[in-house]
């Protein structure tokens, strides 16, 4: 699902997957962590995507039942596996790469976003703000004021 990024860590799972995810949240990590674990119910593959420590996407596959779940439902599943053996990979991506991957597979998007409570907020950009996903506030004049500003007030009738 994700483009190739920078492999940060690839090791045996010695803690709960949830603890791995939480540690990435603390670090305001952007990218994904992919787990392959085995328990009494067989082998499971699941991935959690994060942007600046916020869980934004997830999917889960059970090889035994061939069940594939996405989004919030998949994220819930990752909180289990307390005694599972397995491996995990942590791969760093840019925010745009994660967003793009989720845009292509929107069913994997997590609606109930969670981030670590200590995660630092980015400072808002200053100056003219380009249109983005709507997370920054920008004061915009009314249509009439904008038309007047650019000498196009006679076009108000087209509005």
């Amino acid at each position: 699902m994700f483009p190739s990024g920078q492999l940060v860590k690839s090791e045996e799972l010695k803690q709960k997957p949830l603890e791995v995810v939480n540690s990435l949240k603390e670090k305001t990590f952007t990218g994904y962590v992919s787990f392959t674990v085995k328990n009494e119910n067989g082998i499971h593959d699941f991935t959690v995507a994060l942007i600046k420590g916020e869980t934004v996407g997830a999917f889960h596959e059970s090889f035994k039942t061939k069940q594939l779940t996405h989004g919030d439902e998949a994220l819930v599943k990752t909180t289990g596996y307390e005694n599972a053996a397995g491996f995990y990979d942590v791969v760093q991506l840019s925010e745009e790469q994660v967003q793009l991957a989720l845009a292509v597979r929107p069913e994997s998007e997590v609606k109930q976003r969670e981030k670590h409570s200590d995660a630092k907020e980015n400072k808002p950009r200053e100056g003219n703000k380009e249109s983005n996903n709507g997370k920054e506030e920008t004061v915009v004049a009314s249509s009439e004021e904008i038309l007047n500003k650019y000498g196009l007030s006679s076009l108000a009738e087209t509005q």
Binding site: S4, E95, E96, N128, K129, E130, S131, N133, V140, T158
Partner: protein, 269 residues
Amino acid sequence: MNTINNSSNRDSRVIAIASGKGGTGKTSIAVNLSLALAASGKKTTVVDGDVTMASTGIMLGLKRSPITIHNVLMGECTVAEATYDIARGLKVVPAGLSLERIKRLDFDKFKTAITELKQSNDFVIIDCAPGLEKDAMAALTSAEEVILVLNPEPTSLADALKVKALAERNGVKLSGVITNMRMGEKTEIRNEELEKLLGCRVVASIPFDPHAKKASTSQTPAFTKFPKSDFTAGITQAMTFLITGKVTGKAKKGIVRKIFESISTMFKK
């Protein structure tokens, strides 16, 4: 070889790329966006709707096009016979270069041609003529949606507002705006202002990029020739919007190719 994509498609979209004003980079964007869509696995045909100033085929490096949209509009052939394979699954219906028969063109046939193309494509992209003459109106009203291309300055905005008004009066939905050739000057119209006036999202904001001109002069689309350029990054943004409906952050230089390759792979799954 004259061909047509051979698959039925109920979800096909017909999108006009329009601006009102000439010189906004509309044809470059229409051509490269079409190529990006085709490369991502979408069956795409781009139609040159500028029948008096043909440019789409030229920009794609189409060397020979004996049958064009002109012949279709004179009732001499079907649109399938005027469709040419380009590369990566993109097809083009070019316009003719001759001025001799322009007066005999029946623009009412344009919509019929587009309807035929719609049946076998995921996307039909119409590169509209500038202005609001018959050819431009025929192209605009044959579409279901329009994406406005404009430069962030008042004259371009003025013309775009007129196109928007005409589109809405003819039941063509304004799906998004692409700003092109941003220079980063403080006097340029901001994207938020454009969104307020035009009532829709700026789906891609493309800075001034000399690669776009170089590509045009070499008759090789920037998407192919300069995949890491700012222009191609903007095209990728627009493509992502058309496919997913989401406006994404600007892709950084250098990762556009990686992302694109991933998208191509994903769509093939």
